[in-house]
Symmetry: C2
Subunit: 445 residues, 2 copies
């Protein structure tokens, strides 16, 4: 194997290029959009990203930790805002571990810079994939400006071309390729909390701010320039929905009522709300992720998920890490079986993080504001502290470990069952901290 | 509303044309394939069909019962064949009701003949839909022989173009259109039991013959010419699978062992098995089935299912019946809300029959051969006989009633729960017919 085509120069495509360049292959990356380092367009995707343990694990393996860390902001806690503007801090970890906020555009630019330094990596922008001969890893690209077509032969082709992957569309034309795309009832809209005049943040920058309101929520994540990127996750239809906010009055009235402390920090709210588009949120599942020994899907192309666990990119980076590890372990002489191993290792994890992400939406927008949730958290923190080998809360498994997502999911279901029983015990509010409760939990494990 | 385009002249498209022609609309039906009445090609689809109550209900409403009945064969029972060739008859109904076997090609030809007689129906063959402007019910077709394109304007467009619907593909390009295609582990292959020399059937023609073998099965359904169309439902991979039968020896050895009585009736088995293609089996789900007041999916285009309940066509015919009833009830002045009603009435039923069809595969290939299944059937038959208003077995709900599929599904889940408890009672084999058991069941209802 010598030549590798990567369709898509986003986060996953560019990290993958770096991993594979280090193995000595000739890498050609084709990206549909212009080079984001040369255009004034913001990243084109709104939600800020967080790098968690899995992401760092891949970044470290690629030798990039030091460079990437510079453009991140550590986030140590959820900070919830109630309807009166009161804030409550919920640390993510009893060991003061952080997740790391980063701008999608900034991170992508950095990865492209690093990839480009390899003599065996070529980046091609403004090239839209229009066709793939899957059996031969042979792809056709059209230049988005001059309309010219080029044909590219390779030994292996990666579809790192995101949720609406063209490579996957070609795979869908094959018999027995399973596919689903499922939209949730909520869409999202990007809003802004600007920096103070002196460039500082208006809210605690080391927190992920949430205004949980049961059926919807507002979220804010710090940027390094002092601003916050806010995202409103809101139903398309229903009592409180995009559908119901038709004009400035509706908007101001609604924000004053449900997000009174946020609206004071958002001078461009009206403009942003009516100018920025409403984007949909979908989950994409497919199988198999690979075609013979020739084509593999990776990242969102294989497993687009909703953003509520902040794991989309981390899962994609873990795909790269696992692929790279397989390559190191078994070599590249039998790509058909290597790709099959890759699919079998990653597919259950893609499915699991899809489910976990949906569940975390309910946690973020609703449960986190419930007293029983707070109580459960106290009990779980105590269990983790006393029995770190026996009880690792779900959040820590997902964000601060390499435990396969599908194992985290099944452990969490067991934890849920146990905690459901514990939380319905009489006067649990008083005795949650007792040895009796502790033993009950240990017995149920 | 005046002009209606129907994409697809299969079973559902042609019945729909008849319903709508009777309402006075101008109907243009565009079918990708040649006119099956003029070509020598067999219907192109292998599995024989059965018309059940829902199918007849629609056929009656269109005034076609008498004509269609002539080309059907009534089937009153499942007849299972064990590995020694012993046959057991399981009547479908305690009231001697039948389902009706019919050849797909024969029925389609008949419906096209009837549709064509209406002066306001035009049938166009060899026209492949290549594009649809969904907002304007405006479609483009390419002639499959001369390559010429035509554009067709209409007030309403139906996608009756089957499991791999082009109309649905166009809807998929819209934001927030949900879609899934899921293949099962089994494929199928058509085989033949020819007629006796005197034109009679080699097996009881009024039975649906099954050779249930747990993980796979063979099925045979009578044709009017004395032959049986057989279908082998078989895993693609695994211990017993298409993958493992590589040559004549493998095939003969396998059939002699598991279908000893069938192989004696199949002189062309080797030829048929290696010449006929293996086809995949998929479930297609999507939502919404309609676009504004302009486009609606119907039949397999909206809900392709696995064939194990023999309800695919019947569900499609019921779609036509329900659409026609809505038209009669609320008129055609507000098509947007009529289409939304159609979607909301039918979508839960499409989902339910998809699930029921998968469940019936397990019943047909496995459970039907189990003693506990036979016992349950005896108990259910007795309950139905004594309490016809309280207990209607699932099969009768699906095949001999108009009860919405989703209600049948939820009732059946309750029935399953009850019968599971009943069947685990001590010495149930002896006392199944007792008043004690009867009362237990009634109490649980």
């Amino acid at each position: 194997m010598k030549n590798i085509t990567i369709v898509g120069g986003g986060l996953v495509g560019s990290l993958l290029a770096i991993f594979l360049a280090k193995k000595g292959y000739n890498i050609n990356v084709y990206e549909r959009r212009p080079d984001l380092r040369k255009t004034n367009i913001l990243a084109g995707r709104s939600i800020n990203l967080v790098i968690s343990h899995r992401g760092w694990n891949a970044i470290q393996a690629a030798g990039l930790e030091e460079e990437i860390k510079k453009i991140t902001v550590p986030v140590y806690a959820r900070i919830t805002h109630d309807v009166h503007g009161n804030q409550t801090k919920h640390p993510y970890s009893i060991e003061n571990k952080a997740i790391w906020s980063v701008s999608r555009g900034g991170l992508n630019a950095k990865l492209l810079d690093i990839a480009e330094k390899f003599p065996n990596v070529s980046l091609h922008f403004n090239y839209k994939c229009t066709d793939v001969d899957l059996d031969h890893a042979y792809a056709t690209f059209e230049h988005t400006e001059n309309g010219k077509n080029i044909d590219v032969a390779a030994d292996l082709l990666f579809g790192a071309d995101g949720a609406y992957s063209l490579v996957r569309q070609k795979m869908m034309q094959k018999d027995r390729f399973n596919f689903s795309i499922e939209y949730i009832e909520h869409g999202y809209k990007e809003l802004v909390i600007p920096a103070n005049i002196d460039g500082t943040h208006q809210l605690d920058k080391n927190g992920l701010h949430i205004w949980p309101r049961r059926e919807f929520m507002l979220m804010a994540l710090a940027n390094t320039d002092g601003s916050f990127t806010c995202t409103l996750f809101f139903p398309y239809e229903g009592e409180h929905s995009f559908d119901k906010i038709k004009n400035e009055n509706d908007l101001i009235h609604f924000f004053k009522e449900v997000f009174p402390d946020a609206i004071d920090l958002m001078p461009t709210l009206v403009h942003d709300f009516f100018e920025n588009k409403t984007s949909s949120l979908a989950i994409v599942r497919c199988s198999p992720w690979v075609h013979k020994g020739k084509v593999a899907l990776i990242g969102d192309a294989a497993h687009a998920i909703v953003p509520f666990y902040g794991e989309g990119m981390n899962c994609g980076f873990e795909d790269c890490f696992v692929f790279n590890s397989l390559l190191e372990k078994i070599g590249d002489t039998d790509m058909e079986s290597l790709l099959m191993d890759y699919h079998q290792l990653r597919k259950p994890n893609g499915d699991a993080i899809a489910e976990l992400s949906l569940r975390n939406f309910i946690e973020m927008r609703h449960l986190v504001a419930e007293p029983s949730f707070m109580l459960r958290k106290k009990i779980e923190d105590k269990m983790q502290e006393k029995y770190p080998n026996k009880w690792l809360p779900l959040y820590s498994q997902v964000k601060f470990s390499n435990i396969p997502y599908h194992e985290a999911l099944s452990t969490s279901k067991k934890h849920d069952e146990i905690m459901e029983k514990i939380l319905t015990l009489e006067s649990i509010e008083e005795k949650w901290n007792s040895t009796e409760i502790e033993n009950k939990i240990l017995n149920m494990l």
